[in-house]
Amino acid sequence: MAFLLRPTKRKNILMTNISKFEITLPKGYVNVFKYPELSIVLATIITNAICSYILFTRDPNSFLYYGDAVSHLVIARTIFDSILPGLAQLGTTWLPITHIMLLPFVTNDFLFHTGLAGAIVSTGCSAITNLALYRIVKMQFSSAHLGLLASALYLMNPSVIYMEITPMMEAPFMMFFMVSVYYLQKWWYYYHNNIWKQYRTLIKCALAISAATLTRYEGWILPFGIMLSVFIVMMITKREVWRYRVEAIMTFVGSCSFAGIIIWIVWNFVTEKDPLYFATAASSSTYPFAYFFKSDPIKSFSIIFEVAKAMYGLPVLILAGLGIASYLYMNKSSKLFPFSLLTLVVLMMPILFEFIAMVQGSLEIYPTNTEGSWYNGRYLIFLAPFLIFVSVSLVKIIINKRKKMLTIIAVALVIESWMFAILIQNLDRIKVVAMNDAFSELQFTKESQMSIDTSNALKQLYVGGNILLFTESQQGHLIMLNSNLPLKDFIDIGSGMYWDISKDNPWIYGDYIVLNEYPSSEDKSDLTYKAYSQWLTSKYDDLLTKSVSIGNVLYSPYHIVYDNGFYVILKRSYR
């Protein structure tokens, strides 16, 4: 079949013998070229470990800058350490895979309280992501050396590194996304007439996509994108004449790639009796500035470009532009061009999702009052594999010229451009976009500090009993994590029947109440606030003055034992 993209065929078109550039190492050194995949995994782990160590020694809370990170740790922990332990603690707002992956590590108190549990999970994911990137590049350019270069570049951006050592969903998502891209590319690259071999590759892609859809909502575009790619490749590029082959692949692989979404909808239905609860619940994010970008693709694009510039530096973006052109030029033949275009589109899919979401008005990335700070700027780390891929393709086109000096210059230029960011930003929490993102809202930071103070006070005041959290969910999670108290002693919105009873009759279970007196406007959109707001307004005095009789039991009122202006801690007057 003339149109099959077998490696031998591509070799004639693209591959160049670059063995003459191999480096000869003296005896006693480990040759990374001999064990490239192991080297990549080890290099990723070591890099992340070093960065974790630096950040941790600089500030033990380094992994917990994001409010979301704290919530992920707490949610994972509450699955077994909660007043009502169980899978229901996974909730319906955040997708569950990250919490499930964190589960074995949050059992350890030290790993849980420091957030290192997340560093371990994210580092593992990062290693696999990097491996997938290596394999994609190696397959595309028939060169392990270029694969190694791509992997090295992946470890050179501080924002990417930070997001891959924190307990956030970005690292697991990147892993599943890159694994799915790898298998998709493997499928069309070694397109096989044997349908079973096609199936074996695509099913892995579909399962990775399914996992991605259960990790971040950005992943929900992937099943559509991938199935469209499969259809285009099979029907148009490969001109499959047997309809049943296409039908079988599309049916089964398609269904499997949508399985994650279906599972999530079913989960929402069985736990909240509303299949779209995750989208409609008031606890879902609100976007006060979204109107700014809505239906304005140019504004949205310019913001994304600005953040990308801040995160990667202008040299990388210029190189990427050249890289895209060179990649498409290298594959300009009619047989290869559609695949090249598909590769680029697939690699850009998560960022395309962000772009579409901004234009559609359900996402916002915007500059905050702080200099160089971008709210949600961290999402631009999803662009890293794409930028690396096109940067490497620029090196590839120069390698094809067979000029040793030019190649060395190109490699040096690419590495230098990528190192630019790390040299300038240097893990500085103000300069690194992903770290600064966590500090983007001053008010939020202040509230977080108040939460930490409250949790410290709670730690000292607590002598036993249940603690009722009348606070916004994320701040509540921060108090839970920072107080070092067993999570089973807390009652919050995830506590099922205990919460249902306590929100109206706090006296029954609440020996302590942590109450957010001055909720921010963002807090007011939170479901928890809506449930407890009555205690801030009409019934606040009841808590302090009124004895309540329920059944035959007389419950005493509370008294204030701590007040920092944001939070008060109430303690039951007597038992």
């Binding site: 169980g86 049943y244 079988a248």
Partner: protein
């Protein structure tokens, strides 16, 4: 507090049953999943469906080929029998090396009538192709390609003993071939099957038995036949070759198994008290250390397209499996000694499957009833109330039910898809869209499983006849001869 008191006061026995049911379900399904998927994976790494190339087949001259005794046990198969005879006659095997024996009950007049009509169907114009015995019944008939077929009549008393193994033993006593095989009336073996197996067994004297693949030729007739054929592809393309690769006990199908005559005589034929004599034979062969291989040749057969005959068929199979289990697991240590631990484990699980279906459906009912009630679609009280109490009292029950449900939903479509893509032809790929119905097909087994468990105690040796010929087109105005059984 009230709630807790209520929970504590619930019937302890029912709670224990619920916990047991949900857990057993989960464990069985987990084991099923692991076994099937591991076998699938192993099969993918090491495909071991024995085969003979065309060149190898042609290299062996006709005179070196062994005589094959083909036993055709039939009862009320007047519709399907001619097709079987025609397909055997179309075989490329030399006719003088065929010892074809129709095993028919002496009073099965419709079938005997059909047998007598075969020479005419084969193109003869007079009765010179039929030789009669002393009772005026046909003794031999001459059909297509001038092949002579022997008719063996079964006289057994009482009529309840009219079972396939009884017929087979009768046929075995008269067989003159060195290899014996069985075809059911609804079978259509591939034309080169006999030669392929004969050459393979000539080349491999250590092999005692070869099992050909079974597939359904009427797979598009109804949804049931589609699912039936997917099940067969899973079984013969994934499970058996995987077991063979692992050198584990290879379970035999009811037909198209080729056994050396000295082996089957050494085993004293088929067990007449077992309604799945094939399963029993497979275990006995394994226990005595005989080699059984799956071979890459297909016999096409009819899948029952309607629910009632399907239930009858599955009831017999399930009863037979349980019976075989009860016989061979009387002394499990001995069985482990004979076939090894992993084979014993697999066999235990496979033969006990009817019980698994029964148990797992309880888990499913628990789970579905709980959620239906929870979501509020339908009030399933009082069942849901008890279940909720059990779940609240012990969250392990809840998780076991979830496990059971998820495995039930997930594993079978995956294994089925694996098999269908492995086969990769239009026949199988067209069925991929139905794999998501396989869990429901699996749970359709519940009724035959219950019937089988009941029958096992009431009439363990009763043979529920599976009626065939539903895929054969009859005149629309004419009543189908088997309609009265449905």
């Amino acid at each position: 507090m009230h709630r807790r008191v209520e929970i504590l006061s619930m019937n302890l026995a029912s709670m224990i049953i619920l916990i047991f049911a949900a857990f057993t379900t989960a464990i069985f399904l987990l084991l099923d999943f692991l076994l099937m998927y591991l076998s699938a994976i192993i099969f993918m790494q090491n495909p071991r469906l024995e085969d003979v190339s065309n060149d190898e087949k042609e290299l062996v001259p006709d005179f070196k080929l062994p005589i094959i005794s083909i036993l055709l046990p039939v009862y009320r198969e007047e519709i399907t029998l001619p097709y079987l005879i025609e397909s055997i006659a179309n075989s490329d095997y030399p006719k003088d090396k065929l010892d074809i024996r129709i095993l028919v009950e002496h009073d099965d007049h419709p079938t005997i009538k059909t047998i007598m009509s075969l020479p005419y169907k084969a193109g003869q114009t007079d009765d010179s192709g039929i030789k009669y015995n002393l009772f005026g019944l046909p003794k031999t008939i001459r059909v297509w390609r001038g092949i002579d077929i022997q008719i063996d009549y079964i006289y057994l008393n009482p009529p309840g003993a009219r079972t396939k193994p009884n017929s087979l033993n009768k046929g075995l006593s008269n067989a003159r071939g060195s290899i014996v095989t069985i075809y059911d009336a609804e079978d259509r073996p591939e034309p080169d099957q006999l030669r392929k197996v004969a050459v393979y067994m000539l080349k491999h004297p250590e092999v005692a038995c070869a099992q050909a693949r079974l597939s359904c030729y009427n797979s598009d007739q109804s949804l049931l036949t589609k699912l039936f054929s997917i099940e067969y592809i899973e079984h013969f393309l994934i499970l058996l070759p995987a077991l063979y690769s692992l050198k584990k006990v290879v379970l035999l199908g009811g037909t198209s198994n080729f056994i050396r005559i000295e082996v089957i005589r050494n085993l004293k034929g088929w067990k007449t008290d077992n309604v799945t004599e094939d399963a029993d034979l497979g275990v006995r062969l394994a226990r005595l250390g005989y080699n059984v291989v799956p071979i890459n040749s297909t016999t096409w057969e009819e899948a029952t397209p309607k629910l009632y005959p399907w239930i009858r068929q599955r009831t017999r199979w399930n009863k037979g499996f349980l019976y075989t289990w009860s016989k061979h697991f009387k002394n499990p240590m001995r069985l482990i000694h004979d076939i090894g631990f992993s084979s014993t484990l697999f066999l235990f699980y496979y033969l006990i499957a009817p019980l698994t279906y029964f148990i797992s459906i309880i888990g499913w009912i628990l789970f579905i009833a709980y959620w239906i009630n929870f979501v509020g679609i339908l009030s399933t009280e009082p069942l849901a109330g008890w279940i909720q109490d059990a779940y609240t009292a012990n969250s392990l029950v809840f998780y076991a039910s979830i496990l059971s449900f998820i495995f039930g939903i997930v594993y079978d479509p995956f294994v089925a898809a694996e098999a269908l893509f492995k086969q990769g032809d239009s026949y199988s790929l067209k069925k991929v869209k139905y794999v998501f119905l396989m869990p429901f097909y699996l749970y359709l087994q519940i009724l035959p499983s219950i019937l089988a468990i009941i029958e096992l105690f009431i009439k363990p040796k009763h043979w529920r006849k599976t009626y065939h010929g539903f895929s054969v087109k009859t005149n629309e105005e004419e009543e189908h001869p088997y309609d009265k059984y449905i």
